[in-house]
């Protein structure tokens, strides 16, 4: 079988609760800063848990003229602004018709739907409330005239978006893709997770014996993808492979043995044409729910075999919460920055290891290390499992 065309991650841009550009995001991760705080933008007084990873002030962009008054769209565009600053990508240096946009989201612009149902008859509310609304807003802001695709594989959406973006490049449909994920904290999702009793009143403690749930966060995370033969100048790394598999087990709970995640990892390794022995770092989904972390540990052991016990595995959700549609893209960027900077960020708030989670989860502080090939895993509602394999630049 012919080797598929390699796709390069030329640059990345983010807006997160721990930093509103890639540099700030990275320094917060390695210094163990936390972005968790009392939620202020939406009313939460009636909720059991009132904290999360909220972006307090979207300070990057001063002039929002022409951009819908939609939090999700603005998070996405703020991340794009960071991306453009790093890549020199605006105005587009390419034929706009050859630039695509692929974004992943778990919630789209659902907050606009809440406003529309509350009586706001604004002309743009309904189009923005559809889950693909923010993706189109981003394309307009960028001036991109190629395909605009929104994927919604729940919390694996960011990984799916990057894989679909790579497919567009390999198919020759475009010459560059802005791909990644986003989601905003809003009443809708906070009330939902509060009702599911998935949220913790404690810190988010991935793989810790005392872990008691997740906290939600909001973020936007975008990468500029190009074919390797078209790449010029600096780059973050290469997207080597992607795999997905559905659990077919339950609409909200993961399959207890993690078989779906195991299949997704194996598929990603095969797609990347690497073996488990090649993996040097794993960015785990690591939500800190009692079930997720145990299941993920078991799946990693089966999929990676002995290598699972040898490689560092971290989760960054203790720092910024679960950023849903943005999570997988942020975790992929963390992997590539680790390789570039020679440091592996710690799993924040992991203090008492769980005997059932007995792998090396990088507790305490950042650790020197320069991984070459990295695996990032994601699990989501509806039994969506995704895995990305990345290679250092």
């Amino acid at each position: 079988m012919a080797t598929p065309e390699r796709v390069v991650i030329a640059a990345a841009g983010v807006v997160t609760p721990i930093g509103q550009d890639l540099e700030a995001f990275w320094s917060s991760l390695v210094t163990g800063a936390s972005g968790i705080s009392q939620i202020e933008r939406v009313p939460v007084a009636d909720l059991r848990v009132q904290r999360g990873g909220e972006v307090k002030k979207l300070g990057r962009i001063k002039d929002w003229r022409g951009v819908p008054d939609c939090r999700a769209s603005r998070l996405l565009i703020a991340a794009a602004d960071d991306l453009c600053a790093q890549a020199g990508f605006r105005p587009l240096p390419l034929d706009p018709a050859r630039v695509g946009v692929v974004v992943g989201t778990a919630l789209g612009g659902v907050e606009e739907g809440e406003k529309a149902l509350a009586g706001d008859r604004g002309r743009r509310r309904l189009p923005q409330a559809l889950y693909d609304g923010p993706g189109w807003s981003l394309a307009r802001w960028l001036g991109a005239r190629g395909p605009v695709i929104t994927v919604s594989t729940a919390c694996a959406s960011g990984a799916t978006a990057m894989a679909v973006g790579a497919d567009l490049l390999r198919a020759g449909e475009v010459d560059a893709v802005v791909a990644g994920g986003y989601d905003a904290l809003c009443r809708f999702v906070l009330r939902g997770f509060d009702a599911l009793r998935s949220l913790t009143r404690d810190e988010v403690r991935p793989f810790d014996r005392r872990r008691s749930g997740l906290l939600l966060g909001e973020a936007g995370a975008l990468a500029l993808l190009v074919r390797e033969r078209d790449a010029r100048g600096a780059r973050l790394g290469t997207l080597l492979g992607y795999g997905s598999a559905s659990d077919g087990f339950h609409i909200a709970a993961p399959e207890p043995e993690g078989r779906g995640l195991e299949r997704a990892i194996r598929a990603a390794l095969a797609d990347a044409r690497v073996s488990a022995a090649d993996i040097d770092l794993v960015s785990a989904h690591g939500t800190a729910t009692p079930l997720n972390d145990r299941i993920e540990t078991a799946a990693l052991k089966r999929a990676l075999g002995r290598r699972a016990h040898e490689v560092p595995i971290n989760s960054i959700k203790g720092s910024l919460g679960h950023t849903m549609g943005a999570a997988a893209a942020l975790e992929a960027f963390m992997c590539l920055l680790s390789a570039q900077r020679g440091l592996i960020p710690p799993t924040l708030h992991l203090e008492e290891p769980d005997p059932e989670c007995d792998l090396d989860y990088v507790p305490g502080q950042a650790r020197p290390g320069r991984p070459r090939v990295m695996l990032s895993t994601s699990m989501g509602f509806g039994g969506c499992n995704g895995a990305l394999v990345l290679e250092a630049a």
């Binding site: 309904l126 919604s152 729940a154 598999a245 609409i251 509602f381």
Partner: protein, 283 residues
């Protein structure tokens, strides 16, 4: 890229007037019906929604399931009937599932926002739950994808399915599309000029396997919106699968050209599939 072969197609559509047309695809509790906002019109056409009834399905698991989930399951049943296959034929890790919708999650999102159905219905607000119900019910455990958008997203999903089959990533691929409108009828009426009325609720599932025909996909932004072959009404993502059903019913030889537009994107899929024309309108 080699075109996939069509192994089965199930389409449940709000414009099928007789309940007999449904065959045994799920136990539908009544014939499709029309909901009208007769006093409000666009270009003198009344705002109407051709709705699909909520399918009934035995089992406690489906007590809470939303209408869009149950319609997805009924569409898969119809597809299996069309393909004269048992449910075991699509079970397992070698079956990919690609789900497309522009708006089917609107109903459950609204119910949750307005606190109807209880807060535990939150899980059903995720678009991912519709294919999840299909995966659970039919044991589908292979690669998956969920695209949000109108007809171009469905055409892209068919192309993606062809690519997965071509690469040997799966042995069969299901392209599922569900669109329902009734629960958010007032919101669509608010934006009446954005749609081609009536809105036609549709649930459809296409079963593809490796084939030897030809397939090409193209999309562009701008220009006039391609209406698709089914002239009357708006089906969002489900439109191309309804068009495919009609093409099969005509039993014409030669290629099919599926097209559609959404938010200014026009897409076209030129497809010469291997196909049996033995079944027609029931599909």
């Amino acid at each position: 890229m080699a075109a996939p072969a069509i192994r089965g197609l199930g389409v449940l559509s709000g414009d099928q007037a007789k309940s007999a047309d449904w065959g045994s695809a799920g136990a539908i509790s009544g014939p499709p019906h029309m909901k009208g906002f007769k006093k409000e019109t666009v270009d003198r056409k009344p705002l109407e929604i051709l709705t699909l009834p909520r399918p009934e399905r035995p089992g406690d698991r489906f007590r809470r399931a939303t209408r869009e989930c149950l319609l997805a399951l009924a569409a898969v049943d119809a597809m299996l009937e069309d393909g004269k296959a048992s449910r075991e034929a699509i079970a397992g890790e070698r079956t990919a599932l690609l789900y497309v919708t522009a708006a089917a999650y609107g109903a459950s999102n609204r119910a949750f926002i307005e606190r109807r159905g209880g807060v535990m219905h939150f899980a059903y607000t995720a678009p991912a739950v519709v294919p999840a119900e299909v995966a659970i019910e039919f044991g589908v455990a292979g690669p998956y994808g969920i695209l949000i958008g109108g007809a171009p997203a469905t055409l892209r999903a068919i192309e993606q399915a062809a690519r997965l089959l071509d690469a040997g990533t799966c042995d069969r691929a299901l392209v599922l599309a569900v669109e329902i409108f009734e629960e958010c009828a007032d919101l669509y009426a608010r934006h009446r000029r954005s749609y081609r009325w009536p809105l036609v609720e549709t649930a459809a599932c296409l079963w593809l396997e490796r084939g030897a025909g030809e397939l090409s996909f193209e999309s562009a932004r701008g220009g006039r919106r391609a209406a698709g072959a089914v002239g009357a009404g708006e089906r969002f993502a489900a439109g191309p699968l309804a068009d495919l059903r009609d093409w099969r019913a005509r039993a014409t030889a030669g290629p099919v050209e599926l097209c559609g537009g959404w938010r200014g994107e026009q897409a076209r899929l030129h497809w010469r599939p291997e196909i049996s024309h033995a079944r027609g309108s029931a599909a």
